[in-house]
Symmetry: C2
Subunit: 187 residues, 2 copies
């Protein structure tokens, strides 16, 4: 039924949502953007775009307007928009926090412009909740297992904890930057 889309596929759709682009332009975005590691290799992007097109999620149009070199501009189709929204609005689970913070960070990055500020806040709150629940279990693990680990092993674990704590603190700070509309749109 609902087709499988790779993380790269969602990233491409998210970018196409903000502006129609060619594969080359999308590659440049990946090459220049420092965070969220997507490869800018043609062997990843062009096949991914072709897959999205086959699935009817994006449309590629060759522009031959002014005798320029050929260039294929992709646009997000309605079905693509639906899939993008579905992905962004998926509930956040504990597993997402453990195995997929990178994906969550990408989802949040797109959320404002695709599903709106109110839903961004929802996403943030859910993320904060999951992190708040998860961080203590890491501390427990460290307390119970820390002595069995070699020095650098324990330190490495501590680094992981610090990273999660930083993300939690970030989520809290981020929430304060959203104007708290008196009575946020109920329901």
């Amino acid at each position: 039924m609902s087709q499988k889309i790779s993380l790269l596929g969602y990233a491409l759709m998210g970018l196409l949502h903000s502006r129609p682009s060619s594969g080359y332009e999308l590659r440049k975005v990946f090459a220049q953007t420092p965070l969220i590691s997507f490869s800018d290799s043609p062997g990843a992007i062009y096949p991914a775009l072709a897959r999205l097109e086959e699935q009817g999620l994006v449309r590629g149009q060759i522009e031959e307007t002014t005798g320029l070199r050929r260039k294929k501009t992709y646009r997000l189709k309605a079905a693509g928009m639906r899939e993008l929204k579905k992905w962004l609005e998926k509930p956040i689970t504990r597993d997402d926090v453990i195995w997929g913070m990178e994906e969550l960070s990408l989802r949040f990055a797109f959320s404002d412009s695709v599903i709106g500020e109110g839903n961004s806040i929802k996403l943030l709150k859910a993320l904060e909740g999951q992190l708040k629940a998860y961080v203590p279990t890491l501390h427990d693990y460290l307390k119970s297992q820390g002595n069995n680990l070699p020095n650098s092993g324990r330190l490495s674990l501590e680094m992981g904890i610090r990273v999660y704590e930083a993300q939690l603190q970030w989520a809290r700070d981020a929430l304060t930057t959203y104007p708290s509309r008196i009575k946020v749109d109920k329901k």
Copy 2:
């Protein structure tokens, strides 16, 4: 020449270095360890162990001692130890910091017991240096591009920066926990 080994392969060798184990035991480690996301699926671990064995890096011995159910215990061979050390001692590049912090964290976790405290410290210092150089470029990027991004996009970028800053701070703190032997073993 020097065979290609996946990150999972190195992780397995690192664990086998500390104690010979069966595939099942290694799976349990992955299932229970909260950080560094390796799958505990048999479809990943057993083929990976088989590859390492083909490459002469580990040796698997079936234990049939007391009529128990069969169990294959793997041990790290000398060649495996060499590859493991080579991996741990590889110089750290800027690209490692951008695309492979997870791998660096794993390398550091194994470093104490495989290559010794002195080399752990070297690794840490190199990591600190790379992070110290990289973090400012992220701030520059945020300053120059932040205004072009939607709110949540900019916030997402800030999260990435916070994570790198947390890792940098961690590296500094970690270095202070190593006893500074007066005149660290020279050369």
